[in-house]
Subunit: 330 residues, 2 copies
DNA sequence: TTCCTCAATCGAAGCGCTTCGACAAGCTTC
DNA sequence: GAAGCTTGTCGAAGCGCTTCGATTGAGGAA
């Protein structure tokens, strides 16, 4: 079952290069200066033997695991592709810093955080999809494990948070519709449950959308099944016949909204305008293609990981980072 | 930054329980018999102090990391929600066995496998979305790292593989359509590129679909943008006006197929039948709802993890496990 | 009683790495 | 040319855990 050699150790490398094990360690870490010739010999030995330091030994001796945890909410209702992009972005960025990523689900909750902290299996933590009142936040503060949150809890004091500026996203959508000459506009959001759970981003989009819109702006939560969407759009139009702009912040509903509008005789892009907050594919897969504000999952993930790396190195990072939304016109 | 105590060690637990460190270790691992009273005292000390063994130290001493890697393809064209379900299922199941999951992307390729194997950061490996000719497979064999593959490479000898029985899935779809009285049927698959890449499941669905269908069955690769789908469906109908059944194995295309059929005046569920291979939501979010064969990502993930755990314990597992497809009629 | 066994526990030896202090050379600097 | 720096390297001491004898005392067999 095992390959040959069964574990190349630093001693093997040292022997082959004719130096002490500590010298190999210093060559690899760069923590002390080593003559170029020695370094060269060591690097050759490393390559020849295919040496990789034993992660456990390294973590034990250096008190650095070289692993960060990422806690993802795998509950329903999240838009999965976005999460996946996030995960992928985080892994890629972490690998650039020679770190691995441990995947945790939010089900483990605060106890999971305590476990990984105490077992020193990870050096730091990225917490996705933080809610306004999130039970993990208190534990996190107590543990003092370096961490970066995606999303903003109610009390973000002392925490490092990163997110799309959803307030701005809401505002951008409203502005887009206004510029197209829409007098009465509506935000068709996620289902009531999402608001009830106090998901930060849903609330902030609403605020941004309403904030600058003046009168004539409505917010309407909406489930994402076809029937409800159809009904909701009909009701919005019935309640306000002058309505001529909708922002949709509900990925699966976009297609259904377009149908409902077509059924109502609205010509999207002409006498009616629609803008989407969501992934590009969603806005591209309908006809006509819609303008949209992207949730830049990869950028967020990268930023989060980079911030975490800086924290692990004892460097400063801003407490709060809001990524500017970009409106893509199609 | 740090919590109080800065690391509870086994020595702390031992001191509090009035025993030797080795005794604590034996209580925790159950590898030697310990009197109930002592065990009890130790467990109390563990709980009181919130002790969790240091993962690195444990891995160094016991040569078991308590972590398995999961390598996911994060390339485009995969249906992300399914991957996510898979990941979530794997993490949940792994936690039941007291293991953590390290997330790797397929970009790291064979070198990534070599790295994790050599650094002993993981005990085993789950490889998702294995292709017919997969460069990772050879490395895997050479490394001898315990592993389970999702999907079947061309030469699966000596490997443990798990997958949905896609051949049966193709057959089930064909049979469903036949039973509904469809004489001429087609399989609308993923884009040409997926077949070109020799993705195992695409090929096997095709074989299963054609296998028992006798004459009158076609397979048509198809990109997933609305325009191509529309065109492809039109062409299929033009080429064979008698066509009255389609199996769609292309998640994003399902909605567009339904439109195209409606445009062509076909009444799905009456004079025309459609069946989907894909997630439930996809089949439920169109009108009328369609029958579908689910890719049981969670089941596959659980099975894969369970097999891996058995291998880590030196137990036997079947080389090849095919999960039976289930057709859900709606 | 004496000898043996067995269950329960302890102490010590590593696991492979990092890191600290030491120490030779080879430089300056006066 | 002695004193003081640097620079490059080494050896040894752990990091916190598991595991392998060794040890102790109690119970049974003889």
């Amino acid at each position: 079952m095992a390959g040959p050699g069964r574990g190349v150790t630093i001693a093997d490398v040292a022997a082959r290069a004719g130096v002490a094990a500590s010298t190999v360690s210093y060559v690899l870490s760069g923590k002390r200066s080593i003559s170029p010739e020695t370094a060269d010999r060591v690097m050759h030995a490393v390559a020849d033997l295919g040496y990789h330091p034993h992660a456990g030994a390294r973590s034990l001796a250096s008190r650095r695991a070289g692993v960060v945890a990422m806690m993802l909410p795998l509950r329903d209702g999240m838009h999965l592709p976005v999460l996946m992009q996030f995960a992928s972005g985080a892994v890629t960025e972490a690998r650039c810093h020679d770190q691995d990523v441990l995947l945790m689900t939010a089900d483990e909750g605060p106890a999971g955080l305590a476990r990984v902290a105490a077992s020193a299996i990870v050096d730091g933590l990225i917490l996705m999809d933080v809610e306004v009142r999130d039970p993990r936040v208190e534990t996190l503060r107590r543990l003092g494990l370096p961490s970066v949150l995606i999303g903003f809890p109610a009390d973000a004091a002392g925490l490092t948070c990163v997110d799309l500026d959803f307030t701005a996203a809401g505002r951008v959508c409203a502005e887009y519709l206004r510029e197209r000459g829409c007098g009465d506009i509506a935000l068709l959001g996620a289902s009531e449950a999402v608001y009830a759970r106090r998901t930060g981003f849903a609330e902030r989009v609403r605020e941004g959308f309403l904030g600058r819109s003046g009168p004539g702006a409505t917010v309407q939560p909406c489930p994402d099944d076809p029937v409800s969407v159809q009904r909701t759009v009909k009701e919005l139009l019935a309640a306000n016949p002058a309505l001529n702009g909708i922002a949709v912040h509900n990925e699966p509903a976009v297609g259904h909204v377009m149908h409902a509008l077509a059924d109502a005789g609205k010509l999207v892009g002409e006498d009616f305008h629609v803008v989407v907050i969501g992934p590009d594919e969603v806005a591209e897969r309908v006809h006509p293609q819609l303008p949209s504000v992207l949730v830049p999952a990869e950028t967020l993930a990268e930023t989060a990981v980079r911030h975490l790396m800086r924290k692990l190195d004892g460097l400063d990072v801003p407490d709060s980072t809001l990524v500017e939304p970009q409106l893509t016109i199609r």
